[in-house]
């Protein structure tokens, strides 16, 4: 089987839905909706995150996201960005479900504006309530294997630990905990937040994550469409490397050419 066939047959599933792209992209911070749509196309993403906000009543004819990214072709994953309490997040997602008509959502409950670190107590509480209400929450969380397990037990359909603070572009800070989360999880694990460039995305997949979610790394690149292509390639490369199984690290050199027959 060639690598090309491999990657196409290699799918992942969340809450009963199957996807071949392991890259989820955000739709914020773009210069225009046209650029946003072009980047999504180039990324190959099948899921995009979206926010829920008040309609601008004074100008109802503003261009809408749905006119550029077709929710029938791309799965919209409504988020709770900007919510600092379980109640706000739940209220937002109830509206999102009514607007979109589906239960698959991204939950994030933030602890403070400076770091945008998740408030895990509120996040866990919101997860429990949302699951009772029939939601299928993919949950943004700290890179803590215990917290990830608790979310899974509460009914999270995916756990999404941060690699680094949202929008920081610092790359994965703690490989050990991300790997521990992957090893312990019975639901998909996606690195959400902190990716800055292609190698960061590849590393997430090399660690065995099922996918990676990013926004700023693409939207704030000098050429977002080109970066979207790079991220697509990086996610595929990282996944293939994970499947291939990397070599063991050695402390010293080991020659690649045979020593026998040296002149």
């Amino acid at each position: 089987m060639t690598a090309q066939q491999d990657i196409r047959a290699d799918t992942w599933s969340v809450a009963g839905r199957t996807f071949s792209s392991r890259l989820i992209v955000g739709t914020g911070k773009y210069k225009s909706l046209e650029e946003n749509a072009a980047a999504v196309e180039a990324s190959g993403a099948e899921i995009v995150t979206v926010a829920v906000r008040r309609v601008n009543i004074s100008d109802p004819n503003q261009p809408m996201l749905t006119d550029f990214i077709d929710p029938k072709k791309i799965t919209y994953l409504p988020n709770t960005a900007g919510c600092f309490t379980a109640e706000d997040a739940i209220r937002t997602l109830r509206l999102a479900r009514e607007a979109g008509g589906w239960n698959l959502v991204k939950l994030e409950v933030l602890g403070e504006a400076k770091t945008l670190y998740p408030d895990m107590r509120e996040t866990l509480r919101a997860t429990e309530i949302l699951v009772k209400e029939g939601f299928e929450p993919m949950v943004y969380c700290v890179d803590d294997p215990i917290a990830a397990k608790q979310l899974e037990e509460a009914g999270a359909v995916a756990v999404m630990p941060l690699g680094a603070p949202i929008g920081s572009g610092l790359g994965i800070q703690n490989f050990v905990t991300i790997r521990l989360i992957v090893e312990g999880a019975g639901v998909p694990v996606l690195v959400d937040a902190g990716v800055g460039t292609a190698s960061d995305a590849a590393q997430a997949l090399e660690l065995g994550c099922d996918g990676v979610l990013m926004n700023t790394a693409i939207a704030e690149a000098k050429d977002p469409v080109l970066m979207a292509r790079a991220m697509r390639a990086a996610v595929e490369a990282g996944r293939l490397a994970y499947l291939a199984g990397r070599m063991q690290k050695r402390r010293y050199a080991d020659p690649s050419s045979p020593l026998a027959g040296l002149i």
């Binding site: 955000g26 739709t27 914020g28 911070k29 773009y30 909706l33 946003n36 995150t49 979206v50 926010a51 829920v52 906000r53 008040r54 309609v55 009543i57 109802p60 004819n61 809408m64 996201l65 749905t66 929710p71 919209y76 409504p78 988020n79 960005a81 209220r91 109830r94 509206l95 999102a96 009514e98 607007a99 979109g100 949202i166 929008g167 990013m214 926004n215 700023t216 939207a219």
Partner: protein, 72 residues
């Protein structure tokens, strides 16, 4: 002088005066919004889209009309 009775409500945080008996479907149409692309919350309760044509706004209602926008 003929004055239609009006009620004061809040829509997305702003006060508006609308005709008594106005339904949500009528209000969305007046605002130029496509009911299929928005969700409405009335006094913190979701209003199912299928009931927009029956639900009439009442004095003091607090409505939130939302839709999907770009976000990470």
């Amino acid at each position: 002088m003929e004055l239609k009775e009006s009620v004061a409500i809040h829509v997305n945080g702003d006060e508006r005066h609308v005709t008594v008996g106005l339904t949500l479907a009528e209000m969305l149409r007046e605002l130029g919004l496509d009911a299929r692309k928005v969700a409405v919350e009335r006094n913190l309760e979701i209003v199912p889209r299928g009931t927009f044509a029956e639900v009439q706004v009442e004095e003091g209602d607090r409505l939130e009309i939302v839709h999907f926008v770009g976000g990470g």
